[in-house]
Symmetry: C2
Subunit: 247 residues, 2 copies
């Protein structure tokens, strides 16, 4: 099996080059396999976004960091609106697509290295498209929230989407939650990889949490959940500001 780190980027590049909307294929470590998002999702224009995403992006202010930018749909929209946008993704293929689409400031950088930005560089952290998941697990989330605190202004806002993993009646998913509990992981901690043709991405953890679980993760960090924007179940988006008690 030809393993590459960037099956994800390859599928975005193929969609960009062929101008066709396809669905990415995601494999979970219980051998569950499915298309991960609806065909063409990464290239949707603002008019085609969910109303939840439209509501959420309206909270963007100042200097914006888009984490896990994909094909750049959110960043390109904000750039056109005149925002100062920086977009990062750990996929070189994704970043190249962003650049080809006209995004001025797109960088290959994993979320773990977000502290390479200077202190007080951003006023908004954008983690749409379920990208709260990029925190990976509860401990890593706390570590990364600390790093995000350092690179943001005192009035900064994190806009982060996720999915409530418990809003499902799928036996496949419920059994996966149980498997995770047995091995000491959060139920919604998905170990997955992207497959694209013969390319096989690296395994990584992507975290889905209930609002209560998110509250527990964010508690005692420099951040505080300000509001939830309810989407179509199981999706929702959190608005997370700095916690004045912890500064």
């Amino acid at each position: 099996m030809k393993v590459t780190e960037d099956a994800y980027g390859q599928q975005l590049q193929a969609q960009y080059q062929s101008q066709t909307a396809t669905a990415e294929i995601i494999e979970r470590d219980d051998n569950y396999i499915d298309t991960g998002s609806k065909a063409g999702l990464y290239f949707l224009e603002y008019e085609q976004w969910s109303s939840t995403e439209k509501q959420a992006v309206a909270f963007a202010k100042g200097r914006v960091l888009d984490i896990g930018c994909g094909a750049g749909r959110h960043s390109l929209y904000l750039q056109r609106k005149g925002f100062d946008v920086t977009a990062i993704d750990n996929s070189p293929g994704a970043v190249e697509v962003c650049q080809l689409r006209g995004l001025k400031n797109a960088i290959v950088r994993p979320i773990a290295k977000v502290d390479e930005f200077a202190p007080n560089s951003f006023d908004t952290i954008l983690m749409l498209g379920n990208n709260f998941g990029l925190f990976g697990d509860s401990n890593n989330a706390k570590l990364l929230l600390e790093k995000l605190s350092r690179v943001t202004s005192p009035e900064a806002l994190i806009i982060a989407g996720t999915r409530n993993p418990y809003q499902t009646d799928s036996t496949d998913h419920l059994e996966y939650h149980e498997l995770n509990r047995q091995r000491g992981r959060m139920p919604g901690q998905i170990r997955m990889r992207v497959r694209y043709r013969r390319a096989v991405g690296e395994w990584f953890d992507y975290l889905f949490v209930s609002p209560e679980e998110m509250e527990a993760i964010v508690a005692k960090t420099a951040w505080k959940i300000k509001d939830f924007i309810e989407g179509e179940e199981p999706d929702y988006i959190a608005l997370i500001g700095k916690n004045p008690d912890m500064v």
Copy 2:
């Protein structure tokens, strides 16, 4: 890995029950993985078919046997037009979907057992949706063409779709052709299986041939290619009648 024989049927049942159009996931034995057909293909109504399929189905006459009927889109159309239609598929899930959709005569039976029908039972053999591929390989095709000859009338017609495998510039596909040549298989002989969520179908061979390769396979059988209906590359449909020289 939970191996089942009917990942294919499960995905058809899920689409039928949820009324959503999804794409099936196909894995090839070189670990190439992709969606096998456009989302919802198996449930398309006549108006949404390709013009090639519309042309082809117009040649149906008399008693029709639909081999590899899937969700029954071709059979249901012909049944509504008043034809005497029998549909077979080796997938119990697919046949159940056909029955739920109102197909009167749908039977779980693999193409290999087509000789269980009585002699002279059919006037048309329908193998649309690339189902010439169900012949699997060249030798098996000749064997099955012999069986099909026995269960059909002297004026019978086979309407069979396939894809010219050489009309591609995909490195993945060209390298797979070469792999096949090295192991003594026809270049377009695809060893594949269907994956649906945690279900993994059995490996099977599905054969894509050029028009010249199809001519070579059909030669010296009881059949003779009468015409090709050219589709959008690489697809085409063959009209195959009885060979008067061989009866």
